[in-house]
């Protein structure tokens, strides 16, 4: 690939195999190397094997993507022949399987109900080795890291699974691998920048940009490389060109990180120098930035379902129920068909359509009508107002998509006042927010752009964007954004700044966001963000704390220019607590 840079480390050898078995006339599967970083290839001692026709190759690819796991016969037939397989499909399948056994060794394909399994070790697959090398590179110093990543990238022979570009079964893996390749390349270039190789990189970056003109990350790296090579004017010029290209091609402004880089270039910021601030995803650097945002009174803490998953105890009268639990219970109660019971929005939609919104609300209420024992995150939030008061700063705003009352409980326990602004998805005030003041007043916000009575700076405010359970017997305030239709109604709104009280909206627009236990793969959690930022990205640097996020989840955050912090929630909260407490003025001398 043109994207690879020659380095002086030795070329990786394909897996060498013993010489003994070859005499037997067939390969043993553990001697083979399987390659999917390019067209599908299986390499024996020296040469690639001949893999047969397209169906047989597809079958091998299918088994390979699920290496070590049983793939049901039905699935294999579906994927190979589509919805209307010929009657001979199963026979043909068995035929292909026996061909594969001949090719790869008799023990390669194992028959195991309800299907088949390819017995291959992950280390025999080039993609797995690639990932392993990326993992190893993380802990290395820049120069070695660059070398390791370059070596990993050399495993690539072309587009991943190149002969299955249009096969549905390969799509997810193709996307995942492409994402990994792009970030490995970006990381390798970062490592080169960190080891002072900026001038060598310029040519490579220029040709990469030619191939991927709209990838802002590459442009940013070239801007930095030019700057460090003493070509500041060209670096600034490149920003303007990039901006023009984006405006002309896509009609959008550059993303926030590129804009920030531009600003740093203009003021010749120290952090641009070699050895300037390095941002490590798990380092404490994000903590400093979060605390800084908090101290400037410009932090919004956004809670998602993961906060309850992390809360103490299960749903046995302690702790608010987890979202998965709600999904399963509702599916059971309403007899939701299994293929429809995968997510809460679908189950709730099913219940609302078949039985009505009333029974759905009753059931949700019953599930949520319990002690919402605050977890570590909730208690941490309740500690913040005292600190804000001490420091004389605006209080942080808390936003939640959860229905429970755990935050309120935590504030009550800490004897801290809390104003709540909650969304009504039902009843006469449908589509509006309701303001429940700490003093007890309740007001429907009917002219949001002239509503300035939410004490955004002077008191903690909790914004419940998906409604909430009402634990009073009358259940007047109860409202759940839960079914597909609820989210459609949300999307159909004209813009959140037209619905949220304006002083609160203004704070949200100008804030840094810290997402705790939030997730984006579930589309329903993207709806509010979409309303909040029609341009996709928050205007100020923001973070999401999530441990072991999947590749797709990472993509979602990256697209919103939100930094992913790979930490468990409790760890993050512990660190934040320590860090914030450290800034406190000691009360006693």
């Amino acid at each position: 690939m043109s994207t690879l840079r020659a380095v002086d480390s030795p070329q990786t050898e394909p897996l060498r195999t013993d010489l003994v078995e070859e005499a037997a006339g067939c390969y043993k599967v553990h001697m083979l190397e399987f390659r999917i970083l390019g067209p599908l290839e299986v390499v024996g001692k020296r040469d690639p094997l001949t893999l047969g026709g397209s169906k047989q190759r597809a079958l091998l690819a299918l088994l390979l993507l699920n290496a070590g796991r049983v793939v049901p016969t039905d699935t294999l037939v579906d994927q190979l022949w589509g919805e209307r397989p010929p009657r001979t499909a199963v026979t043909s399948l068995q035929n292909f399987l026996s061909q594969l056994r001949k090719l790869l060794g008799a023990d390669a394909v194992v028959t195991k109900a309800p299907g088949y399994l390819l017995r291959v070790d992950r280390s025999q697959i080039d993609a797995a080795r690639f990932e392993q090398m990326l993992e190893e590179a993380k802990t290395l110093e820049p120069e070695q890291r660059s070398r390791k990543l370059a070596e990993a990238l050399r495993l690539w022979r072309g587009p991943p699974l190149a002969d299955f570009t249009f096969e549905p079964f390969a799509q997810a893996e193709i996307r995942r691998l492409e994402g990994l390749q792009a970030s490995a390349l970006e990381e390798r270039i970062n490592a080169d920048l960190d080891s002072g190789r900026h001038s060598e990189l310029i040519g490579e970056l220029e040709s990469l940009i030619e191939a991927h003109p709209l990838r802002e990350g590459l442009r940013g790296q070239l801007m930095l490389a030019l700057y460090r090579s003493g070509r500041q004017a060209e670096s600034l010029q490149l920003y303007h060109e990039t901006r023009r290209a984006l405006v002309e091609e896509l009609g959008v402004e550059p993303g926030r990180s590129l804009q920030e880089l531009f600003a740093r270039l203009l003021r010749q910021d120290e952090s641009l120098e070699l050895g300037g601030s390095r941002e490590s995803p798990t380092g404490d650097d994000h903590l400093e930035a979060v605390v800084k945002a908090f101290s400037a009174g410009r932090l919004v803490i956004m809670l998602g379902p993961g906060v309850n998953a992390a809360a103490d105890g299960a749903h046995n009268g302690s702790g608010a129920p987890k979202r998965d639990h709600l999904t399963t219970r509702l599916a059971e109660v309403f007899g939701c068909p299994e293929d429809h019971a995968t997510e809460l929005t679908k189950v709730a939609q099913y219940a609302a359509i078949t039985r009505g919104v009333g029974p759905l609300y009753d059931e949700l209420h019953a599930l949520l009508d319990c002690e919402h024992v605050p977890g570590a995150v909730h208690r941490f939030l309740a500690d913040l107002p005292a600190i804000s008061r001490e420091q004389g700063i605006a209080h942080p705003i808390i936003v939640t998509t959860n229905y429970d009352r755990a935050v309120e409980r935590a504030f009550a326990d800490a004897d801290e006042p809390l104003d709540v602004v909650t969304y009504m998805s039902i009843g006469p005030d449908r589509g509006r927010f309701v303001h429940r003041s700490a003093e007890g007043g309740v007001r429907v916000i009917s002219t949001p752009n002239a509503y300035a009575d939410v004490p955004v700076d002077d008191r903690a405010v909790l914004l419940k964007v998906h409604g909430e359970v009402d634990l009073e017997p009358t259940r007047d305030a109860e409202s759940f954004v839960v079914s597909e239709d609820d989210y459609i109604a949300y999307l159909a709104e004209t813009g959140i700044s037209g619905v949220l009280p304006v002083t609160l909206a203004a704070r949200l627009r100008r804030s840094h966001f810290l997402f705790l236990g939030y997730r984006l793969v579930d589309w329903s959690f993207r709806v509010f963000l979409h309303r909040l930022w029609p341009d996709e990205q928050p205007a100020y640097r923001s973070w999401a704390v999530e441990t072991s996020a999947g590749a797709l989840e990472q993509d979602f955050w990256r697209r919103r220019a939100i930094e992913l912090v790979d930490l468990a929630l409790d760890d993050e909260v512990d660190r934040l607590r320590l860090r914030v407490q450290a800034d406190r003025v000691p009360v006693e001398a």
Binding site: H240, F262, V502, E536, A539
Partner: protein, 231 residues
């Protein structure tokens, strides 16, 4: 910037019919519009476009210049650049650019870097350099149509506004101030800016309490200043 208590000479606590200006002295004497100031400033921060209208002489310009401009400049660090523009007799685009450049320079503490392209390009570069929003308070818009009839002279501005308001990722927020009897003239934008009036605010006459504050506030402040500054 001179501190208000230092060397200020006030001949009277009242401005009379003159419009309040974006000066420290005027801010000291501007009373009775606290709530409006907060609401209008919040709208400017929350929305890409806000339309502020009201009857002639109700105090739109005073509110913007003595209240909103300052409230916006105090809205956290980094604070946005806030430009007020309301003089339509000359070339509107040149005037707006100058006001914006001054505002950015004030927020940055130095002149912004040169940026190529048209006015939108420069606004984009300036807000990126600043790392915050550029708020444009564009007032007395009725005069655009007065000074530049038959649309020719107004064309530049009529082309500019949709770009400022609609381009994704552009950190420019616009407030249009206009007399209520001229509101229909904004129809020239309606086709290009869907939801043009979605975020509009009407400025009312001062109510009784606010009126009292507007009269007594300056008096009290004047006495206080005079006491602190013996002449």
């Amino acid at each position: 910037m001179s501190t208000p208590r230092n060397g200020i000479f006030l001949s009277s606590p009242y401005k009379g019919l003159a419009t309040f200006d974006d000066s420290d002295v005027d801010a000291l004497l501007f009373f009775g519009r606290d709530w409006e100031t907060e609401v209008v400033a919040a709208n400017v921060l929350a929305s890409r476009l806000t339309v502020l209208y009201g009857p002639s002489g109700v105090g739109k310009s005073s509110l913007l210049r003595a209240g909103v401009v300052r409230a916006l400049r105090r809205s956290g660090d980094p604070s946005p650049a806030v430009a007020y523009f309301g003089t339509w007799a000359g070339d509107p685009l040149a005037g707006l650019e100058e006001a914006a450049r001054d505002a950015v320079a004030e927020a940055l503490g130095r002149e912004p870097a040169d940026a190529p392209g048209d006015l939108t390009d420069r606004f984009a570069a300036w807000s990126a350099e600043l790392g915050a929003e550029l708020c444009l308070l564009i007032d007395q818009l009725e005069e655009l149509f007065l000074y530049h009839p038959a649309r020719q002279g107004a064309a530049g501005f009529v082309d500019l506004l949709p770009k400022l308001v609609l381009r994704p990722g552009l950190r420019v927020n616009v407030l249009l101030g206009i007399r209520d009897d001229a509101l229909a003239q904004l129809d020239v934008f309606k086709e290009r800016i869907p939801g043009m009036f979605m975020n509009s605010l009407r400025l009312e006459q001062l109510d009784r309490d606010a009126g009292r504050a507007a009269i007594l506030g300056p008096l009290a402040r004047y006495a206080e200043l005079a006491g602190a500054e013996p002449r």
